[in-house]
Symmetry: C2
Subunit: 100 residues, 2 copies
């Protein structure tokens, strides 16, 4: 299991609309992808227009190959891409310690 | 409930040592704080020296006032601060959507 962390920046006045696009994109596209295990959408309290999406994938390749090279990726980007104020910063992480 | 996201950057050759300091600091200091509800520690696969700490707090003030103004905060920073290559980026988030 790996965790994708995507850090998005949109114009402040698109804050709510982007949050809705993100939730819609996850519900209708991302969550249907092979290897998708779960997600969290986080809205910054300090920086209007900053959103963080955490996605748990079964493997790194489920995201970087399976999803990104699928036609679903174009649908996903069509929903959220128009809001980007700059390219999102996306990296993959290992969960080394947790308590819930 | 709010989520703190702290994005840390340390020298690449301090990557493992910092991960250990972070886990130790959470176990011995942060997790004892009033209002602490849970955490995740994430290590970047792409950027050696990048770590992300997610902390769930009961309220914003539990972190910004209760913890940061306590003597425990000095202990916490003594454990992890010496590794910082630059000041961590710390913000607070609302969880707007999730599936686990």
């Amino acid at each position: 299991m790996i965790t994708e962390l995507a850090d998005f920046s949109v114009q402040p006045d698109h804050h709510e609309a982007f949050g809705q696009a993100l939730a819609q994109g996850v519900a209708t596209v991302l969550s249907k992808a092979e290897g998708y295990l779960g997600h969290e959408i986080l809205a910054s309290q300090e920086t209007r227009g900053r959103w963080v999406l955490l996605v748990r994938w079964s493997t790194l390749e489920a995201h970087t190959v399976g999803f990104r090279e699928s036609s679903a990726f174009a649908e996903w980007r069509a929903l959220i891409g128009p809001y980007f104020a700059q390219p999102p910063r996306v990296e993959h992480f290992d969960l080394t310690d947790a308590s819930r």
